[in-house]
Every structure is written in C-alpha cells, then in structure tokens.
Amino acid sequence: MRPDYSVLLLTTLIGAGQGLFLALFTVQLFALAGQLPAPGSHAFYVHGSLLVLALLAGGLVASFFHLGRPERAWRAAAMWRTSWLSREVIVLPALMGTVLLFGAAHLAGFRPTLFTLPSGLAIDSTLVLGTLGAMLAFALFLCTAMIYACLPFLREWSSPLTVANFTLLGGASGFTLAAAFSAWAAPEATRYIAGWAFALTLLAAVSRVATLLRNARLRPRSTPQTALGIKHPRIVQRSAGFLGGSFNTREFFHGSPERRVSAVRSAFLLLAFAAPLALLALGGPRGAAPVLTAAFLVQFAGLVAERWHFFAQARHPQNLYYQDTR
C-alpha cells in the first residue's frame, strides 16, 4: 500500500494526543489517590488539555488532505453501524469536546462534587469528564486500528496486534510528551510520568517487534492461481492492459525498493523505541526538560516512519493483477 502522509500524520498526531490526555488523567487519578504529588497548579491540566486539542485538531486537519471531496466530510458520520472509519469520525470530535470541557473545568475551577463513593471519595466534574475522555480515547484507538485490522485480505494488518500497536504506540508517544511537558509545568510528577512512558515504550516495542515477526512469517493466501482461477504453477503477466499508470498502479504500491523499506524499519526501531528509551532513562529521573523533549521529538519522527512501514509492508491482493508494477 502507498503510505499517504495525511494518514501518517493523522494517526500519529491523534495517537500522541490521546496518549497525552490519558497521561493527564492518570496523573490526576494518582494525585487523588495520594500516590503522586499533586501538580502545583491547574495549569498542568489546562495547558495539557490545550496541547491535546492542538494534536487532535492537527490530526483532523491532516485527515482532510486524504479526501478527494473534503467539503463532504460531514457525511462520513452516517454509517457508524458498519464502518469503523465512520465510528472514528464520530469519536474524534467527541473526544475533542470532552477534552475541551475537561480543560475548561480545570481552568474555571468548576469542580462541584457530583456524588460520593461509599469509601468517602468525592467524585467531581473533572473526574467524570476525565473518565469519559479516557474511555473515548481508548475507543478512538480501537476505531483507528480497526479501520486497518478489519480488512481480512490485508493480512499484515488483519491481526489483534494492530489494535495493540496503535494503542501502545499512541500511549507511549503521549506519555513521553507528557513527561516533557510536566518537566516544564509540573516538575514534581515528571519522574513518575517518565517511568510510565518508559514502560509503555517498552511494551509498544515488544508488540511492534512481535508484529514484524508475525508478518515476516506470513504466506500469501491469494496467489496468481486463485486470482485468475487457473491451476498452473507458472503464471506470468504479459500486459496490464494499458501502458500508462492508473489508480490501481499508484494507490497500492509504495514504489520504494526493498532496501529502503528495510532501512525505514531499522530507522523506526531505533527512533521510536531504542532512542526514546535511552533518553527517558537519562532525562526522566532528573526531570531534564530538553532531554525529555528530545525523547518525544525523536519518538514522534520514529512513529511517522513506523506508520510509513506499516503501509508499505501491507501487500494488497489486487497487486496480483499488476505484477509488473513496482
């Protein structure tokens, strides 16, 4: 499949935004439970929510560049009963609205106690909004991943590992960003967040490498024999039916030599996992903002490369009808 930069940016930007929101809410929960020094000011949540909104909005803007008819994008919410893409289109603005309310409630100090748990814990509006936002963030990870995982004949994508990867990679980049952000806004929580980011990055690395190993062992189920229905071991294409290009020869081929694909694989393994792990281990305990910022930037670049490889690696069965296309 051809990696389209609008989709690469959409999935990486909203993934980081979702992860950052989950990090903000995790800090709030741990501070509430007394496991973490509470961030000194509400600016941590307010500016953090703004950052989340900026990332989600950036992803939303990027997604429009993928459309042939962006002016009709509103129609995409119609088929949520059957289409994961439609569900994503609904959940993303819902998450943005919830994050906006979450940040606004923190900004205005609007925290009326809605009810009290039997243990005596007072549940206020930000906790309710945060819980709702966290559920939407996880739902959005599921929707985004299932867009790819629900296509059975794209076997590189059609796996529960795809859902795990989108969730863990988005979570890792979001928590790394949260660590860098808190080094500036709430230094007392930085070492904790950096620790979580380290663990998530490690988990994401395990899941992504497992996917690479799985995909390396895949044997194509569709062959020239099943594509044409001719049971002869040797079938060679002599003509695609036209000399110029077509949608089919452009959309489903990444057009890069195998060498570049494996170079991108090495690059994303280094940039998305190895380097951020080292930088988080280096800067996390000290709360060094520049090191943690570098960790996020490197990891984000690595995740764009990861997403490029995710597309390039997927072999669409329609390519069997265009065997001479490179």
């Binding site: 993928h66 867009i147 229905g229």
Partner: protein
Amino acid sequence: MTQLALVIDLNVCVGCHACVTSCKEWNTSGSAGPLADTMPYGKDPSGAFFNRVQTFEVGEFPDTQTVHFPKSCLHCEDPPCVPVCPTGASYKRKEDGIVLVDYDKCIGCKYCSWACPYGARELDPVRKVMTKCTLCVDRIYDRTRPEAERKPACVLACPTSARLFGDIHDPQSQVSQAIRDNAGYALMPEWGTHPANHYLPRRRTSARIHEDELTRADNPLKVDGLLPRPPKSDPSLDDVMSW
C-alpha cells in the same frame, strides 16, 4: 432475488479490448458525467476505467497458453467494499444485486478501494470520487431501447460473444446454464466475497484422427483396382471442345 452478473468465457476471449473501449465510451457519455482521463494524449496517460483486459502467459515454453483476462467489478454477493464506506455512498441494490456508488455522497476517502481484494474500483482523477462498473444500469432498464440492446455495453461490443449477461439466481438463465455446463468459477474464493461475475475456464479443443481415416477405405473406385483405359475411339473431352 435477482443477481445480475457477467459471465466471461476465457476460452473465447481474444483480448481485443472492444469491451474496454465500449465501456469507456458508454460511461463517459452517460448521465453520471464524464469518466475522466488525465493527459490522454500526453507522455503518461492515465484515467478511470471500469473494465480492463489483462494478458497472462500460463505454462512453460513451448507449452504455453496466452490468457486474456477481462476484469471489472464482480458485484459480489457479500461485497466487502460496501460496509466500510463511511457515508453510505457505496451500496448494493436489493432488487438486482448491482453494487453502485452514489457519486454525490462519495467523499473520495478511497477506503472502499482498499477493501476490494480485486482492485475493481478506481478513483476518478478529476471528479475525485470512487467509480466502478455499474453493469450499465442506465442502459439495461432503458425502455426506449429495443429489448436486444438492454445489455451492458461490453456485452454488446464483444465480437466473440465471450461475455454473457443475466441473472445468476435464475437457474434457467443463459448465464446460470453456462456456469453449470462449463464449470464456471469465481475469483479469489478464499475471502468469502461470493463474486456474482463468473469466469468460464479454458477448454481443450482437440480431435483424434486415426490413420485409416486419412484414406477412404471403401472408395468404390479402388474396390476392383484401376479401371481399364478407355479405347482411343471413344469420344473424349477434346472432341467436344475443338471441332
């Protein structure tokens, strides 16, 4: 339930591309607007087509067969492209099973083309909406045409009658009989899409000739050997022609 479909006889197709050009001609001049091309006379021509004929070589030289393989939307009975569409622009008609795109609702996200294992959908490069074979839905129900012309343009254009059109759910239809009698098959059955279009395989055409069939064993002229030479006095053809 009706399921209209094409049945394509690979034994007969000669790869002339008449179906491709007639399809393009019909669908670029239809009510749905032109089926656009970019740089049609330029260096790298491109454009949207509903139907393509591809050529494959099967076997090892010298025992090879050239297979011309026309491919358009297969109008699957369980189309994977339809449920993924976020806007509902892609739909399968209940009354005749044709899979269609509502060009006014399509946002051009290309997701349906990813969801089609056959690569049957092509994005129109100018209108920026997904296009695909309509089985000439604007022609097959046109009551102003004579009955014989209410068929897809590709079917009418085929000089070898390699393309049949009809209802594959009607066991008595020409297409159902062709599928039954000639071992018609569907493409990529492994994905459970149940394509409506079927292909008829190559069939071996051969005749066995025995040695004694080359010369007529019961030739009456040879039963008693050679006939005696006629005497010189008998009238000959020369006597008639030259006097």
